[in-house]
Amino acid sequence: MDFGIGVLRHWIMAWRDRQIIGGYELLNSTAIAVRNAFEKQLQEATFLDAAWHPAGFANHRIDALFCSLLRGPLDEFFRSAGTELAALDDRLSEIGSILAEGGLVELPVTQDPGDGSAPVPTSEASASHGEDMTLLARVGGALASGAGSISSYASNTADWLVQDKIGLRNRLRHAAAARIATTWMGDIGEPPPVLSQVVRAIEVATDEARIKTW
């Protein structure tokens, strides 16, 4: 192996490390912004949301916020990464172009439930009508439909100070954090977390680049 090839392969690894660390930074900074935005949405939460099904309240809101805040920067991330890789060597231009085109990461798809509430991810919407419906969700759903008076009472009379004191709001925050740590910033999972998809795309490009420069 010519030493020039060695230099190039080291550049590829340096590029790869910059992108992966950059991917972590991008997802994490977006998550911080998502958390801040979610904090404002907590005011929409009812007692039942917090008490019975915090994930039901948090997940689709986190997904919707993440999608809106991440899509543009993620496209720019891959455009920049692809351009940078292509600039290293002519042999890498094709791989760089594929990266720069984007579309390599599938974000959780959300759809507007049409009732004015936050969009709901497709996977969750279908799950709530399918076999994946959990006992907790069913119980919570039954309570929600059959105990309107409780819901109304909770949302109208319990002020946020009280909810904070009894930790209900924290249940929603924990649910949001769990969603971020798994669906968005997890290392493994099914479907693959977004961060793991970003890393995977860079790793595949790295492997291809190393093969082309051996």
């Binding site: 060695g6 080291h10 911080i32 954090a177 968005w184 190393r210």
Partner: protein, 369 residues
């Protein structure tokens, strides 16, 4: 017919202007090869001489290493030589931190003069300075005496034993035996220079053959460490040093026999092996376990801080992986140039060994039309 004068002509001490050019970025170093970044022409080759000989001022050697610490050339892993936290290369952890602080300065390229570094090294223990300097032996073809090679090997073995829990348990294990055999080979290589004629050649051929066997053993050990579900990269680093050491013995022995093609082939093999072992290990691999251990919650500022810190902490080891690969890839680079000029490697290596007053030798590559 090459005269001794010509052999001497292609060797220069590298502690002066050459290193200044590297430090300023006018020349770039990749392993032992120096390149003019403007014309991309190879301008020459570096060759480590001996860092523990009486004439070699260790502080100056380390200062030379520092000269490579510019952001362009991704320098030798001198900062890593100071060890990671809790990694007991040195006498005490306190000493380790003191060295790390000083050499981090070097790695950042902040240090502007050899004198300043020498002053900074004044507080280090002799052993610490030696350990740092030993990292330097991997540059070019191995011509160091056994005292230096043995010290280098001991340093690698100490790191392996400090990290590998299984090592202590099996003191008589294959690994211990392999390190002992490697040390024997280093002694045998050195003794070869005091033999003459066929006796020397036979000795070196035997060294080359045995070194290949040991290189394979350490390769297998390294691969085992690196393919664990939760790899110990510090242990892998010690094992990779052993692979590189064994390969260096092979190349040096074959070059001493004037077997240019075989030496080049052995060097290529070493480069390929190291690339296959560590070429795909980078900052990402080193950062992930540290991040996980930090327990920082994802999506928080705390996570950002932990990521930045893990990234910075991992850089020296990452740099060392790359530097070892670069050294292996360029180990036999001077041989081609020597062959072109009709200089036999053995004569050249003898000349390098005779330059006891310097730790680093530079061989310029003549400009070709």
């Amino acid at each position: 017919m090459i005269t001794a004068a010509l052999t001497k002509l292609v060797l220069q001490k590298a502690s002066g202007g050459i290193l200044d050019l590297v430090q300023s970025g006018a020349l770039q170093a990749f392993g032992s090869t120096l390149v003019d970044p403007t014309s991309r022409r190879t301008v020459g080759y570096l060759q480590a001489r001996d860092t523990l000989g009486a004439a070699a001022d260790t502080a100056k050697v380390v200062a030379s290493l520092g000269a490579f610490a510019n952001p362009v050339t991704a320098p030798f892993g001198v900062a890593y030589a100071a060890g990671k936290t809790g990694f007991a290369i040195f006498d005490t952890q306190r000493t380790s931190h003191r060295i790390e602080d000083k050499l981090d300065t070097v790695a950042e390229g902040v240090l502007r003069s050899e004198k300043k570094l020498e002053d900074g090294l004044g507080g280090l223990t002799a052993r610490s300075r030696s350990t740092v300097a030993l990292q330097f032996l991997d540059i070019g073809i191995n011509v160091a005496g056994f005292a230096t090679l043995g010290a280098r090997l001991d340093e690698i073995a100490v790191r392996a034993s400090a990290i590998d829990a299984g090592f202590r348990e099996f003191q008589e294990s294959q690994l211990t035996l392999a390190f002992t055999n490697l040390k024997t080979l280093a002694r045998s290589l050195d003794e070869g220079w005091r033999l003459s004629g066929n006796a020397a050649t036979n000795r070196w051929q035997s060294v080359a053959s045995e070194a290949l066997h040991l290189q394979d053993q350490f390769e297998a050990r390294s691969r085992g460490v690196l393919t664990r579900p939760d790899p110990d990269y510090l242990l892998a680093d010690a094992m990779l040093d052993a692979v590189s050491f064994a390969n260096g013995l092979r190349v040096a022995a074959l070059a001493a026999c004037n077997q240019i093609n075989a030496a080049r082939s052995a060097a290529e093999d070493g480069a390929r092996v190291l690339d296959s072992l560590s070429g795909r290990v980078g900052l990402a691999e080193l950062v992930r376990p540290v991040l996980a251990a930090s327990g920082s919650e994802r999506g928080t500022r705390e996570f950002s801080v932990a990521l930045a810190k893990a990234n910075e902490d991992a850089r020296p080891l990452d740099r060392k992986f790359r530097q070892r690969e670069a050294n292996a890839l360029t180990r036999a680079a001077p041989l081609v140039s020597l062959e072109r000029r009709g200089i036999r490697p053995r004569a050249w290596l003898e000349e390098v060994r005779s330059l006891t007053e310097t730790a680093l030798v530079f061989m310029p590559e003549p400009e070709r039309n």
